[in-house]
């Protein structure tokens, strides 16, 4: 069950031939292998590995790799039954697919056994429930917010937009040669442009499916989606910085921090870098707000990341211990204090005075805004289906092609619809 022999062996090797004393059976000889993909909060988590060892005596070998490496590694590990990973980074967006493939071990007992289970934000937690079992615990919940340069909006004599239609007008008023009105991610990918674009889609009443989850007929080629896409294209091409068609995370962040863009609508990990005084030249000028809405209301983006246990794990007990530690109030509080954004998944973290002080300094109502956005966000903002990664990529590529003028918005939606139908027909 636990790699006692293995640990003792390596300890003996370390000691060399002297073989001084019998090795104590508890401390140091338990290990847990954790595979995460790189994002600020996973890097922050890896930095806390020593705390985990100090508390539990378990060595956490945390490997943080790029997303492409991550995907090939887990694919090989899971399909090959390598069992070299005890804890795996489990984005909500992949849970359905991995569960269907039989890659994840349920962690229901661990979740139900938590004394403070109710402290975990229910939206993010429930997203890990598939067929009545939990397959992960969340450590990160990012929501969509808007950041805008109050100084520039004031100078243009406009108020922060409440809807995307207003956004078009504000952008027109604010846009100048020095500062583009708005920068958003356009690079193709289910986690890139398809993280932000559904905010427009859903605000205009557009959908992925006719009636999720009851009627799973693709519904991309609707007038609502077309309106959303046209708005997105106009905003990006007419009021975005030059080269926006290939913008991804770092480019958007840099444009905001360097004063090349006046507004953005994206996840907290981007907007909080605009208001981070250590990195942004205009931290004081940026104001955070809820993302714009539309005829169908506001639908902030949501991305939840958690930790799961690969199926067939021989080390499940230790793995569960690590997951409990990583998603505990204490650890999440440390992350909220160490990192630049409040993407914690427990309500109690918001009650910590230090956390409150830190984010109040950025903006009085930062934490409240986030809670409000989380409450507005729908769990299936991006559909929770096994084929989403494939569908998301296909739509994202067509949307990107439309922004870059490779096809018309109508053609893009039509193509995306068609591809979605093919994917779902398998």
């Amino acid at each position: 069950m636990i790699k006692t022999t293995h640990g003792a062996l390596s300890a003996m090797l370390l000691l060399g031939s002297t073989a001084l004393a019998p090795i104590a059976a508890n401390a140091q000889d338990r290990e847990v292998n954790v595979l995460l993909f790189s994002m600020p909060s996973t890097r922050g988590l890896a930095a806390l590995a020593d705390d985990f060892e100090a508390e539990t005596g378990i060595t956490a070998n945390i490997d943080v790799v790029g997303q492409d490496v991550f995907e090939s590694r887990i694919t090989l590990s899971f399909t090959g039954g390598a069992r070299d990973i005890d804890v795996v980074h489990t984005p909500v967006i992949q849970v359905q697919r991995w569960v269907e493939a039989g890659w994840l071990e349920p962690v229901t007992d661990t979740v139900e056994g938590l004394e403070d289970k109710d402290d975990i934000l229910s939206g993010p937690l429930e997203a890990y429930q598939v067929n009545g079992d939990y397959y992960g615990l969340p450590f990160f919940a990012e929501t969509g917010l808007m950041a805008y340069r109050k100084d520039l909006l004031d100078a243009a004599g406009v108020e922060a937009p409440e809807t995307w239609d207003e956004m078009l007008e504000v952008a027109k008023a604010v846009d100048s040669d020095e500062t583009a009105a708005i920068a958003m991610r356009v690079a193709p990918g289910q986690g890139f442009n398809m993280f932000v674009f559904p905010m427009l889609m859903r605000a205009y009443g557009g959908k992925f499916f006719a009636d999720y989850p009851d009627d799973m007929t693709p519904a991309l080629d609707s007038p609502e989606n077309l309106e959303a896409l046209n708005t997105y294209i106009t905003l990006m091409n007419d009021y975005g910085p030059q080269g926006i068609g290939n913008f991804n995370f770092p480019e958007v962040v840099a444009a905001l921090q360097n004063g090349q863009a006046a507004m953005t609508v994206d996840g907290t990990s981007i907007v909080s870098q605009a208001v981070d005084p250590a990195a942004s030249q205009f931290a004081d000028e940026f104001v955070l707000a809820l993302p714009p809405g539309g005829p169908a209301g506001r639908s902030p983006a949501i991305a939840v990341h958690g930790l799961g246990i690969p199926a067939g794990s021989e080390n499940a007990e230790t793995a569960a211990e690590f997951i409990k530690w990583a998603t505990s109030t204490e650890t999440l509080t440390k992350l909220a204090i160490n990192e630049a954004f409040p993407d914690f998944t427990r309500a109690s973290v918001a009650e910590n005075a230090e956390v409150q002080a830190k984010y109040a300094e950025v903006q009085e109502d930062f934490l409240d805004l986030r809670i409000e956005a989380l409450n507005l966000a729908i769990g299936h903002y991006r559909p929770l289906i096994p084929t989403w990664p494939e569908i998301g990529a296909a739509i994202g590529e067509n949307v990107n092609a439309a922004v870059n003028g490779q096809m018309s918005p109508e053609e893009a939606l039509e193509a995306a619809q068609e591809e979605m139908e093919i994917i779902l027909s398998y």
Binding site: E71, P188, Q242, G243, I244, Q260, P386, E390, A393, Q406
Partner: protein, 294 residues
């Protein structure tokens, strides 16, 4: 005959020396290759698994798949223009450096530097150079009121950008090999050409360049096969975009295998790539033999 016995013993020794390498190739190259080949005849899907069926359906699908066919055009554009640019630039610099001796020799070291930069870092460097809001190039020309276009938002531009980044990172490979070849060409030939009345340019094109052909062909082949495997530059610089305009075949294999879970189909694309590279290698090796038998 003692001589024969000695040489047979030598042969045995050489054969033994090949054992570890053969094992390594067998285990780490041939096995996965066979695995990939086997996979390509199944319908294995990461999530849905394998139905037990075997057939050539994946290969039939390849030739009906518009994305696959367009990925070949993209791959060929990246490879052909990339290899051309690398060979021309690498050769030009090698020819320049070849004549430099004495204390300026350290220049060679400087020109090799990009070769040591990891591909992902190369991609990040050029991504920022081609992003108008981040690029010092755009900032410089903006001073004169000139707007440098954003390369990465059009297909031609994005392919150009990847070719430039790839060329920057790999011309040193061409340069080093050409430099070695140049040093194998007798300086007498240059002098003879000078006495024969050839200008430096004519001497280069009539004497040096033809003598470099076999080397250039080999180096182009190496680079060509390498460029078929384009991945990090595309992944980091364009994510395959704009749209799908830079989804070269190898990238498309990744998309099918890992993003779309179509492992078997991805394997059939990989098999195609392997056969394609092998065919080109074979053809060029033959051409090379013909060129160098003189």
């Amino acid at each position: 005959m003692p001589a024969t016995r000695a040489s047979a013993a030598m042969d045995r020794t050489y054969r033994r020396m090949l054992v570890p390498a053969s094992l390594a190739v067998g285990i780490f190259a041939i096995t996965p290759l066979l695995g990939m080949l086997a996979l390509s005849f199944t319908d294995f899907h990461l999530v849905r698994g394998w139905s037990g069926e075997i057939g050539i359906q994946n290969f039939v699908r390849l030739f009906e798949d518009r994305r696959f066919i367009s990925s070949i055009y993209i791959m060929m554009a990246l490879s052909v223009f990339g290899v051309l640019a690398q060979v021309v630039l690498g050769t030009a610099i090698a020819v320049g450096l070849d004549k430099i001796v004495g204390r300026w020799r350290f220049a060679r070291g400087i020109f090799v530097v990009p070769f040591a930069v990891p591909h992902v870092a190369v991609a990040l460097i050029w991504l920022s150079l081609f992003t108008p809001t981040l690029s010092p190039i755009n900032a410089f020309f903006a001073v004169f009121g000139i707007e440098v276009p954003a390369l990465l938002t059009t297909q031609t531009g994005a392919i150009t950008a990847i070719v430039i980044a790839d060329t920057w990172a790999t011309y040193p490979f061409v340069m080093l090999i050409v430099l070695a070849a140049l040093q194998g060409i007798s300086p007498d030939l240059d002098e003879a050409a000078a006495l024969d009345g050839a200008t430096r340019v004519k001497a280069f094109f009539r004497i040096t360049l033809p003598l470099l052909y076999p080397t250039l062909l080999m180096v182009a082949l190496f680079r060509f096969i390498e460029t078929l495997k384009h991945f990090p530059l595309i992944f980091v610089m364009t994510s395959g975009g704009p749209g799908r305009a830079t989804q070269a075949t190898n990238y498309y294999a990744y998309v099918q295998t890992f993003q779309n879970s179509n492992v078997a189909y991805g394997a059939s694309i990989a098999v195609f790539l392997f056969l394609f590279a092998a065919a080109i290698s074979f053809y060029i090796a033959k051409a090379n033999a013909r060129l160098s038998d003189a």
